[in-house]
C-alpha cells in the first residue's frame, strides 16, 4: 500500500510506544501517533495531556491540548498543576513517555521552541516552551518529531528551551535533572536514537528511498550512520487503522 511521509512518521513513533506507557501528547502529529499506538500496538497505553485530562476517549481528533475533545470521557479531568505533578511524581513519572516537536534539535537532543536569533530581539519568535521544558525535565523517555532540514539540526541552538542530554554524559544529573532524556528523533527521512554511552544522536533507520547520506546532507552536525538500517514501512494493517480509525477526516495526516 502507498503511504505518505506523515503516515510513515506517525507509525514510526507509534511503534516506540509500549503497553503500560502513559503517553504525554501535544497537538498534531504527536497526538495522532499516540492514538495510533493505542489502536495498533499498545492498547494498554494511556493518553494524557498537560491540561489535565487522563485516558481521554478521543472520539474526534483534538486540535489543541485544551480542545473540549480531550475532556470527553476521560478517566479524570483536572488541571495543569495535577498534570505536571503526575510527570514529576516518582511513581508515575517513570511510566511516562513524552512526544515533543521543536524548531531545532542539537546532537544531544536539546530542543529549541522559543526563537531564532537573539532571545531579546529574535528574527523569528515561536510559541515558547508550553509544557515541553517540563516534560523534557521530568520524564524518562521522549520522542521528538522534526522536519529534516539543515537549519533545524544546528551545531548550537539559538535558545535551549527543553533539556535533552545537555552537553553530554552525566550532564542531566549534574544539572539536577532526573535521569532519562530523549529516546528517538523521528523525522521525514529517518529515525535517530541516542548512544547509551556518548548520549549523541545516531542514525538508527532511514526510510525506504532515503539514503543515510541524504540525512547527513540535511543536518549541520554529523551523526554516526554505521548502525543504520532501512526502516520497515507501515504495514497494510497499520495504514488501514490509521486512515479508518485514527484520522478518517484527514485533519492532521
Amino acid at each position: 500500500m502507498d503511504y505518505t511521509l506523515k503516515e510513515m512518521m506517525t507509525i514510526m513513533a507509534a511503534r516506540e510506544i509500549r503497553d503500560g506507557d502513559i503517553v504525554f501528547c501535544g497537538t498534531g502529529i504527536s497526538m495522532v501517533a499516540a492514538m495510533a499506538a493505542k489502536q495498533i500496538n499498545a492498547p494498554d497505553s494511556i493518553i494524557f495531556f498537560e491540561t489535565g485530562a487522563i485516558d481521554s476517549k478521543l472520539e474526534e481528533i483534538p486540535m489543541a491540548v485544551a480542545d473540549s475533545r480531550v475532556m470527553f470521557g476521560a478517566a479524570s479531568n483536572s488541571g495543569l498543576l495535577e498534570a505536571f505533578a503526575t510527570m514529576q511524581n516518582p511513581n508515575t513519572g517513570d511510566r511516562i513517555i513524552g512526544i515533543l516537536g521543536s524548531a531545532q534539535v542539537d546532537k544531544y537532543g536539546n530542543l529549541n521552541s522559543t526563537c531564532i536569533g537573539d532571545y531579546f530581539q529574535p528574527k523569528i519568535r515561536f510559541s515558547g516552551s508550553g509544557g515541553a521544558c517540563d516534560v523534557a525535565s521530568f520524564v524518562s523517555r521522549c520522542l521528538i518529531f522534526m522536519q529534516h532540514e539543515k537549519r533545524k539540526f544546528p551545531v548550537k541552538l539559538d535558545y535551549l528551551t527543553s533539556p535533552g542530554y545537555l552537553d553530554g554524559p552525566g550532564a542531566r544529573e549534574r544539572a539536577g535533572l532526573k535521569p532519562g532524556g530523549p529516546t528517538a528523533v523521528i523525522t521525514n527521512l529517518g529515525v535517530m536514537y541516542f548512544d547509551d554511552v556518548t548520549k549523541e544522536m545516531y542514525l538508527a533507520s532511514y526510510y525506504p528511498g532515503v539514503t543515510p547520506q541524504d540525512i547527513l546532507d540535511n543536518m549541520e552536525f554529523a551523526v554516526d550512520i554505521s548502525r543504520a538500517i532501512e526502516a520497515e514501512p507501515p504495514s497494510d494493517r497499520e495504514l488501514k487503522i490509521l486512515r479508518e480509525r485514527v484520522d478518517p477526516h484527514k485533519l492532521i495526516l
Binding site: 491540561t51 486540535m63 473540549s68 505536571f84 516552551s129 521544558c133
Partner: protein, 325 residues
C-alpha cells in the same frame, strides 16, 4: 448569608472598576478553550493600556490583548493556539518588533507561580528547567526588578536541596509567586456571590483566581446558590475570592466552553488571516471589536447560524462532527 452582596454587575462596569491602566492581570482558560473573550474585548474597547500580563498558555485572549495594544509586559509560557495559529500571530510580531517586554517560563513554572500566590508563600520549587535558557535568560533586567516593587528581585533561584538528596533531588528551581491585581475567568456556572462551578478541565483557573486581589467571573449562567450548594465538592472557587460576577452568555466565544459550545473554527481561521496583516487586523478590530457596543453586538455580527454550528452536543460537550478544517 455572607458579605458578597452587590457583586453582580455589567461587564463594562466590572472592567472599568477592576482593570486599571498598568495593573497586573491574568486571564483563565487555555489556548482555544474558556478564555474570557467577552472580557478581553471589553478591555480592548475601554482602551486599557500598559497591562502587565501573566500567562501560561492563554492563547486567543492574550493574543487579542496584545493586538489591541493593551499589554506592555508579558510573562508567558506559550504563545500559541493549537492548529489555528501554532504561534500566536500578534504575540509573535509584537516580540519580533520589540513592542513589548517579555519573559519566558514553562507551563508548570507559571502554574506553580499561581499556586504559590494562592497559597500565600513567596515561591515554590520544581526540578523543571534546570540546564535550560528559561532559567538563564531574564526578560526583565535586575535593574528593572530592583526599581519595580511589583516584580520579584529575581526571575528564578536555584538552591541545593537542604535535605541532602531527599526525594531524589540534589538541587531545585524556585519560582516566585504571582499575585495579580485582577484575574478574569469564564465559567459555566456561578452564583451571584461568586461561587463557581467549572465543567471539564479547570486548567490553572482556580489558582489564578485564588492568587488574585480581585477576581472577575464571567459566566454562561448565574444559578441559584442552593443549586451549587447541593454538591459543594464540585464548586472549585468559593465566593470569598470573587469581586465581580457578570452574566455573559457565549462569554468565551470564539474560544470554546465545554458543555456549552465549541470554538468557532471559522472565526479563528479568519482571525489568523487578519492577524498576519497589520492593515487587515486593524480593519478587523474596527469591525469586530471597536465596531460593536458589547459582546452581544459581536455575536449579532457573527450571526445565529454560525453560533448554532458550534453549539455543544449534550453527550460529548463539544460540537460533534463540526467542520474544523
Amino acid at each position: 448569608m455572607n458579605v458578597s452582596q452587590g457583586k453582580v454587575m455589567t461587564l463594562e462596569q466590572a472592567i472599568a472598576t477592576y482593570v486599571t491602566d498598568g495593573c497586573h492581570i491574568s486571564i483563565g482558560g487555555f489556548t482555544v478553550n474558556r478564555n474570557p473573550m467577552a472580557a478581553v474585548y471589553e478591555i480592548m474597547r475601554q482602551r486599557k493600556k500598559n497591562l502587565h500580563c501573566y500567562a501560561h498558555s492563554n492563547g486567543t485572549g492574550v493574543d487579542e490583548l496584545i493586538g489591541g495594544g493593551c499589554i506592555s509586559r508579558l510573562e508567558i509560557a506559550y504563545g500559541g493556539n493549537g492548529k489555528a495559529a501554532p504561534t500566536c500571530i500578534r504575540f509573535k510580531s509584537a516580540i519580533q518588533r520589540g513592542e513589548i517586554l517579555f519573559e519566558d517560563y514553562s507551563n508548570y513554572h507559571m502554574s506553580l507561580r499561581f499556586h504559590a500566590g494562592a497559597m500565600g508563600v513567596p515561591f515554590i520549587n520544581t526540578l523543571s528547567g534546570l540546564g535550560t535558557d528559561i532559567l538563564e535568560k531574564w526578560g526583565f533586567s535586575r535593574e528593572l526588578r530592583a526599581m519595580d516593587p511589583k516584580l520579584p528581585d529575581k526571575k528564578i533561584e536555584i538552591i541545593d536541596n537542604p535535605f541532602g538528596n531527599w526525594g531524589g533531588a540534589t538541587k531545585v528551581v524556585l519560582v516566585p509567586a504571582i499575585n495579580p491585581d485582577v484575574t478574569i475567568i469564564h465559567v459555566q456556572k456561578a452564583d451571584k456571590h461568586g461561587t463557581c462551578r467549572i465543567e471539564g478541565l479547570n486548567f490553572a483557573d482556580i489558582d489564578q483566581a485564588k492568587a488574585s486581589k480581585h477576581v472577575i467571573v464571567t459566566c454562561e449562567e448565574i444559578v441559584d446558590s442552593e443549586e451549587l450548594r447541593e454538591k459543594p465538592e464540585y464548586n472549585q472557587i468559593p465566593f470569598i475570592h470573587v469581586s465581580a460576577v457578570v452574566h455573559v452568555p457565549y462569554g468565551a466565544y470564539p474560544s470554546a466552553c465545554f458543555n456549552c459550545y465549541d470554538y468557532d473554527p471559522i472565526y479563528l481561521k479568519q482571525l489568523s488571516t487578519f492577524a498576519k496583516d497589520d492593515k487587515l487586523y486593524k480593519e478587523y478590530l474596527e469591525t469586530f471589536v471597536y465596531g460593536v457596543k458589547d459582546h452581544p453586538g459581536l455575536l449579532t455580527l457573527v450571526g445565529k447560524e454560525q453560533l448554532k454550528m458550534i453549539s455543544a452536543d449534550k453527550r460529548t460537550g463539544y460540537a460533534t462532527g463540526l467542520d474544523r478544517r
